[in-house]
Symmetry: C2
Subunit: 309 residues, 2 copies
Amino acid sequence: MSLLVVGSVALDTVETPFGRAEEAVGGSATFFAAAASLFCPVQVVAVVGSDYPLSALDFLRERGVDLGGVSQVEGESFRWSGVYSYDLNSRETLETRLGVFADFQPEIPAGFRDSQWVFLGNIDPELQCHVLDQVKAPRLVACDTMNLWIDVKRDALLELLGRVHLLLVNDAEARQLSGEYNLLRASRWIQQHGPRYVIVKKGEHGAILFMPEGVFFAPGYPLEEVFDPTGAGDAFAGGFMGYLAGAGSADPDELKRAMIYGSAMGSFAVERFSIDRLRHLRRDEIFERVRAFREMTAFEDLSVGAHAI
Amino acid sequence: MSLLVVGSVALDTVETPFGRAEEAVGGSATFFAAAASLFCPVQVVAVVGSDYPLSALDFLRERGVDLGGVSQVEGESFRWSGVYSYDLNSRETLETRLGVFADFQPEIPAGFRDSQWVFLGNIDPELQCHVLDQVKAPRLVACDTMNLWIDVKRDALLELLGRVHLLLVNDAEARQLSGEYNLLRASRWIQQHGPRYVIVKKGEHGAILFMPEGVFFAPGYPLEEVFDPTGAGDAFAGGFMGYLAGAGSADPDELKRAMIYGSAMGSFAVERFSIDRLRHLRRDEIFERVRAFREMTAFEDLSVGAHAI
């Protein structure tokens, strides 16, 4: 039930209406692992520069995350800095310095190659394909992508889609990729190009899972203060994949539950800067939030059989 | 269990990417009654001009709607015309001709004054208060409003809020009214000014019910073709209030179910122009859609008790 993630481990400088975090631990693989490690053993493949404060990842190791695939090489680590609008609904990237990430060629350690559950974080789709060349027979492969790759690496991305089971994108990316405005049509288009499952993330409006067996909605958890939205999508992915790997199943009922666990982890991630909330999160807090999600969406359908009367 | 609605009965000329409807039956009271009449007896108070094709409302009468409060007076009927953007997410009003609606002074027929369930459609809040002066002891009063009244009749609107149990607004209106961007804070602000319950409608993103007892989400029903969004909000309100009046209860569990019935009716309304879909809708189709909503949101929470292990 090991879960492999390939992505970035970075340093983020983030400004929100609530404050500023300098050179905080960030990156898709970091947020993903911080969330997923509460559910199952996680294996990380990433690259950092010689300046990376690796001890900041010790808490992951303590949770059973195998960082054996994180290579430290000469040079600068990947740095991102951005500032969020007052309503946190948009952000401006101030600077992206790829550093050693520019030459990232993910090599999967021999011990990671038989992972059953694989998440390809948002990197060049050619590199995502290169990862898939190295893993043996994964049970479920999910991938993320972004507007940049849809623009400039469309062919590689389409090749990748033919090789993954699940694509996780936001609504704008689903529309850009498919050329369809309607999300139901957009997800059908994507499904026709490979992935059996599509998750469309809509930020505060929640997330939708499109399966051949039906559609499932997870609402956005209503928070009075969203502190820092950075990493919410990767924490969602970590909760989603971590839950599935822990359950050892990807049947439709488990996929639905995984959507709720993903949403719960995304909602925790934004309560503090960086990975601070995920770092100190307890399993009982997760279960409590999942119950809150159930309260927010469950209703008894009294009409069952009523039309027959 | 009678349900009183006061609002507009209008003629709409609507253009969407799918076609055009000329002088079609519209108005908040019309959409509301078309939806609510599938659940309970409805009483309508409105005004139309001498040019209104009243026979177009015959189907409501056949469903038990009491149109005794619809007065026809000399002059032109309320007309609205608008055009929707290609993605149906925005619309431009081409023309609004109030006609006899400009002098609407809702008089509630004696037989309607002991209605237990009351919906005040989107009209001047002074007139909404005037309606409340005439009804006796309603069990639940819900009201709608719009940006115009928040701008120019704020004091009257605040007076009204102190007299209603439920406010139904869209997200932009909730933010404008409260001055809070965060919807949880916005709804708290509104609740502090009177209504025990607030429903925030978010179009394709669904609707949220804020109660002192908790929050409930109804997703937007995923439709491949949204034909004409006009009246969706009023159909939602009609389904919501009609369900409650039919159930004869507004306890939290019924309010949750009412959110789903409202969402179902809103989703039907947009499948055709005008009230065409609601006119021919059968109760078994409603029950089927409610079951689809349940499929889209229900999950079994396997964690119950798990944290205690």
